[in-house]
């Protein structure tokens, strides 16, 4: 068994060495593809985290009409808390709001009566539900009809659009790059098969098993994918470090969290290896059909 493994590995190494130029090219393309995908993935996760943090601070404020009873407030709160996209909803009595305002602006507060109505503070957990929740609030009878609902709609929409764009760019650019890398691995495997045509013929003549014939080329595809994945992970780490340094120089921006090295290395290598194997197998299926 060990003897067979050594033979197959030896064949894979010979094959890799024979098409070194093409192998390097496909490793680089796989690396770039995984780098772009990984980078966009990290950016997307970062923005999503940021968005979550933003929704926590950019809450929705809803002002109730004068004369709203405690029962109505309680019923409204119950309904709001049951609404999809709402993380939390709390009542801010007009006395509390006025007290806070008075503390912060004593000069203005001393000459006027409390203008605040009772209000609700709603914290969202799904950015995309903002408009729907706002519309639902406006439709309620106990909510002030004019400026009764306040939330940073523009900012939230902007963030939502950015995430959508990122998803789209990731799918398009990453998809195209993935396709290019796949075609390259596919081509390298076919080239390897072509350059090994006499070996394959000899193997067929002497009754070599299919694993002996094809496994070296599958290993070749896997090696390309693994190296591509590793290279992509290294590039991602370096880029992240540079970005972190830039972010650190701005005091107003909070520092980035530590680079998630373990999952990034693990998943890029797994993705590269799987992709390499799949492309090599596809090339070999074609080759096998032609041979048969």
């Amino acid at each position: 068994m060990l003897d067979r493994i050594f033979f197959i590995l030896g064949e894979a190494i010979v094959s890799l060495r024979r098409n070194l130029g093409m192998v390097v090219l496909s490793v680089l393309t796989t690396a770039v593809c995984l780098y772009v995908l990984g980078g966009l993935g990290l950016l997307y996760l970062g923005l999503q985290k940021g968005a979550r943090r933003m929704t926590g601070t950019l809450e929705m404020r809803v002002y109730l009409k004068e004369g709203t009873t405690r029962d109505q407030v309680s019923s409204t709160l119950k309904d709001v808390r049951a609404t999809r996209g709402v993380e939390k909803a709390i009542l801010i009595p007009k006395e509390n709001a006025w007290e806070k305002f008075s503390k912060e602006n004593p000069d203005i507060a001393k000459d006027i009566d409390n203008p605040y109505p009772d209000g609700l503070k709603i914290i969202l957990n799904d950015l995309s539900q903002g408009d729907t929740i706002a519309a639902q609030m406006r439709a309620r009878a106990e909510v002030e009809p004019v400026n009764g609902v306040n939330y940073l709609r523009k900012e939230q929409n902007l963030l939502e659009q950015a995430l959508k764009l990122l998803r789209w760019v990731g799918a398009t650019a990453g998809g195209i790059l993935l396709l290019v890398a796949g075609v390259l691995i596919f081509t390298v495997t076919r080239l390897a098969a072509m350059s090994r045509r006499i070996e394959i013929r000899i193997m067929r003549l002497v009754g070599a098993g299919y694993s002996t014939m094809y496994l070296p080329m599958v290993i070749e595809g896997k090696v390309q994918g693994v190296f591509g994945g590793l290279l992509a992970a290294v590039l991602l780490q370096l880029t992240y470090r540079q970005v972190s340094l830039v972010v650190l120089s701005y005091e107003s921006i909070p520092p980035l969290p530590a680079f998630p090295a373990q999952p990034v290395y693990f998943w890029t290598v797994i993705a590269g290896a799987s992709y390499g194997i799949i492309c090599a197998i596809l090339a070999l299926i074609r080759l096998h059909k032609r041979i048969q």
Binding site: D3, R4, G10, E11, V14, E199, I202, M203, V206, G207
Partner: protein
């Protein structure tokens, strides 16, 4: 060589083969070959000689009928079993199919390793095979340093890595002059003397006339004549310089002694290959 009676080694049962470009490449052909026979398939180009060999090695499947080897209908077997089937036969192609960047012994060793033999088995057996095909002195030569006859002997040697009971040779003398052709025939006769069934597709009538063997003549995919099974005495060496293979295989006293297993024959694992063949 004594021909065994009883169940035929090979049987074609009303076999028909049609290619897209060549309808009726084989036309309702039935044939039995006994174990230990030496058979020539003769005929002009396109007569169906090579197709018969390809049917035996499962490179081609019959459109109709059955191909039976040792009682098994091979055309019904799954493609997964083709390698196992081929390990029971030695296939000698006309174009040698040698790896140009490997020496003679590396070519044999590579085939042996590819066929599933261990490094140790390969190291033990390769010198014997080389002695059998009289190329031990050329073990370190590369194919382009060999004559056509020598290259064909390497191809025959390679076909022996599985010690097969059936040898299929497709035009083995097609590229050789008469002297070298007879050398190759002598090697094949020696293999037949060991008990292997040998089937040779050829149109070289000069060779056919000098070898006492069963001759099946094909024309347009049909058998037009068959001399029938023939028992021939153990082969006397034909007029060649070649030592009979049986001498080394059967451990004959005159045969070269078994090489020491520890002698380093420097048979390397797959290094370089056929990239610019």
């Amino acid at each position: 060589m004594e021909v065994e009676k009883g169940q035929p080694h090979i049987e074609f049962r009303a076999v028909e083969v049609s290619y897209r470009s060549h309808k009726d490449a084989i036309h309702s052909l039935s044939l039995q070959i006994q174990k230990g026979e030496f058979v020539f398939l003769v005929g002009t180009t396109g007569a169906g000689k090579s197709t018969l060999l390809k049917l035996l090695s499962r490179e081609v499947n019959p459109t109709k009928g059955a191909v039976v080897i040792e009682g098994k209908e091979i055309n019904r077997q799954l493609a997964l079993f083709i390698p196992k089937l081929r390990r029971k036969m030695g296939i000698v192609p006309q174009d040698y199919a040698l790896l140009p960047k490997k020496t003679v012994e590396e070519n044999i060793a590579y085939a042996s390793r590819a066929a599933g033999k261990t490094r140790r088995q390969t190291r033990r057996r390769t010198p014997f095979i080389l002695m059998g095909v009289h190329l031990l002195h050329k073990a370190k030569s590369f194919p382009d340093e060999l004559s056509g006859g020598e290259r064909q002997r390497v191809a025959i040697g390679r076909s022996l890595v599985n010690d097969p009971p059936l040898i299929l040779a497709d035009e083995p003398t097609g590229n050789l002059d008469p002297d070298h052709s007879m050398e190759i025939m002598q090697l094949l006769l020696d293999l037949n003397d060991r008990g292997s069934t040998v089937i040779v597709a050829t149109h070289d009538m000069l060779v056919v006339d000098q070898v006492p063997a069963r001759i099946i003549r094909l024309e347009e995919g049909r058998i037009v004549s068959d001399s029938g099974p023939m028992e021939r005495p153990k082969s006397e060496p034909l007029e060649t310089e070649v030592i009979p293979l049986i001498a080394v295989v059967d451990g004959n006293e005159d045969a070269p002694s078994e090489p020491d297993e520890n002698v380093d024959l420097q048979i390397e694992e797959s290094e370089s290959g056929g990239d610019d063949a």
